[in-house]
Symmetry: C2
Subunit: 173 residues, 2 copies
Amino acid sequence: MELYVERGFEQTTVAEIAERAGLTARTFFRYFADKREVLFAGSASLQEALVAALESAPDAASPMEAVAAALDAAAAFLGEGREFSRKRQAVIAANAELRERELIKMAQLSAALADGLRRRGVVSPDASLAAEAGVAIFRVAFERWVTDLGKRDLSQIMCESLDQLKALTAAAR
Amino acid sequence: MELYVERGFEQTTVAEIAERAGLTARTFFRYFADKREVLFAGSASLQEALVAALESAPDAASPMEAVAAALDAAAAFLGEGREFSRKRQAVIAANAELRERELIKMAQLSAALADGLRRRGVVSPDASLAAEAGVAIFRVAFERWVTDLGKRDLSQIMCESLDQLKALTAAAR
DNA sequence: CCAGTGATGTCACGCAACGACATCATCCTA
DNA sequence: TAGGATGATGTCGTTGCGTGACATCACTGG
């Protein structure tokens, strides 16, 4: 993060990262699959938290309600470190390769949520759609939260976004 | 496509592609930004077609209805070449880097649709949400269409998926 | 016939990423 | 306590992607 913020992602070599960490480039690649991956170390635990929340939602909950529970967990997970999220997001936004990686992490998240929904008995296409919709809400809400200058809560913004999506789809045909 | 299908994406070098095309590797890179991009040559025109359809939707159409018009255009654009889409999709699915590129193309599509909606007067977060939802529908429907063994129409599957999303969001809270 | 333009080739280079092997610390056990 | 297994790290060499700089060649307009 330090180096990526200082001089940008492309202008940073793996050798430099390794040097600052007191390691060899070869060792870097033993911990991270590639130069990008180092910025996404936490995404596995985020995903676990979301899936866990989805699974522990009440049985009576509808698919989208279970997804909403997962989104609450996401807010809890990220809610504290807004400054860190801001910095990280700035680095990612500035580089196309990093945006790609970010997107595939989101897609993995979506797939994991869809799996979780299927385990709850939701039929396959509904599960995918609900998961995709959930991730869309996450994306939009997170963007707003990071951009926002005020102090509004992430979970609150997520709720709003879900409501907006409901209103939008309800107004189609 | 030939080489990627024959021996897979990773096992194909740019020099080989260039050779089969009767060119130099250097020239390849003058036409395509990188080894992946060659599989996404058509995505710009797809995007244009969708945005055009969105813009020419009746003024009275709701945001999601305008998005639905764009999805119809997508179906028209892709509907004929199912065999080609299948092959291409198989190549992409088999490789993580290609999946990343596919995702960023989708994200660009989503951004372009959101822009188009804003030009129609839709407020910003609604535009993003509707566009994201539209792309989610596209993704799910396309996946079903490519996988599906039957002869069901892409546009038909898209309509179904939109209806399903409506039902899902309506059932939240 | 020449100057300008655009497409292509040639060459050299930086760097990401990986395989193979060496080294060293730790720790378990006979 | 010596010795062997294990795991983390370093070293070295290689491949291939991607780019900058420069040369070449075809084509076009004047």
